[in-house]
Amino acid sequence: MTAYVAEVALLTVVVLLCWLGVLGMWRMKEPTQALHYLSLPATAGAILLTIAVLIAQGPRQTFWKVALITLILLLTNSVVAHATARAFRERKLGHWEPREGDPMEIVREENTP
């Protein structure tokens, strides 16, 4: 019974994380901002799904496959997001390396010694 409640709770959070990520992405006007919301289902969603599979199935082959999927998502999501953001910048400016005169926002903390 406790395991079932844990499964329900974990899967509910997975669904909510997916919806939160998708709606956040949908609402953002800038594509670079929208790109940040990929991480919600790819990290927390996938990890919680793996835990739910572990509770439901035990440490069997299915669990290891889902763990491998989560590992792949964790490793590749950051690479794909970075490559995509770089492509956006390249498309906008014609290059991706920072150059003199580029419209870059530089944030400095004031009152620092």
Binding site: P31, A56, R86
Partner: protein
């Protein structure tokens, strides 16, 4: 219908905003929608495989996760260089 299938339906429903992003707007927004869509499909396939009791089909989201990585990189490269 068990809890896994309900979760799969809930996750799959979130593909609708992804489709909206893929079908409208600038190429940048379309690419983000595509990447989110492939991520959601991966999670939904895991949930469907377990929900239907066909755990052998977990290989499909495994292949999807690997292929969407390559696909995302190719589309990003294409968008940055050629489109």
């Amino acid at each position: 219908m068990n809890i896994w299938l309900l979760a799969a339906v809930g996750v799959s429903a979130s593909l609708v905003p992804c489709a909206d992003m893929c079908l409208r707007g600038t190429p940048e927004r379309r690419l983000v929608g595509l990447e989110m869509g492939s991520l959601i499909v991966t999670l939904a396939l895991v949930l469907f495989a377990i929900g239907f009791g066909r755990t052998l089909f977990v290989d499909m989201p495994l292949a999807q996760a690997l292929m969407s990585f390559g696909g995302g990189l190719v589309f990003a490269r294409f968008l940055g260089k050629h489109l």
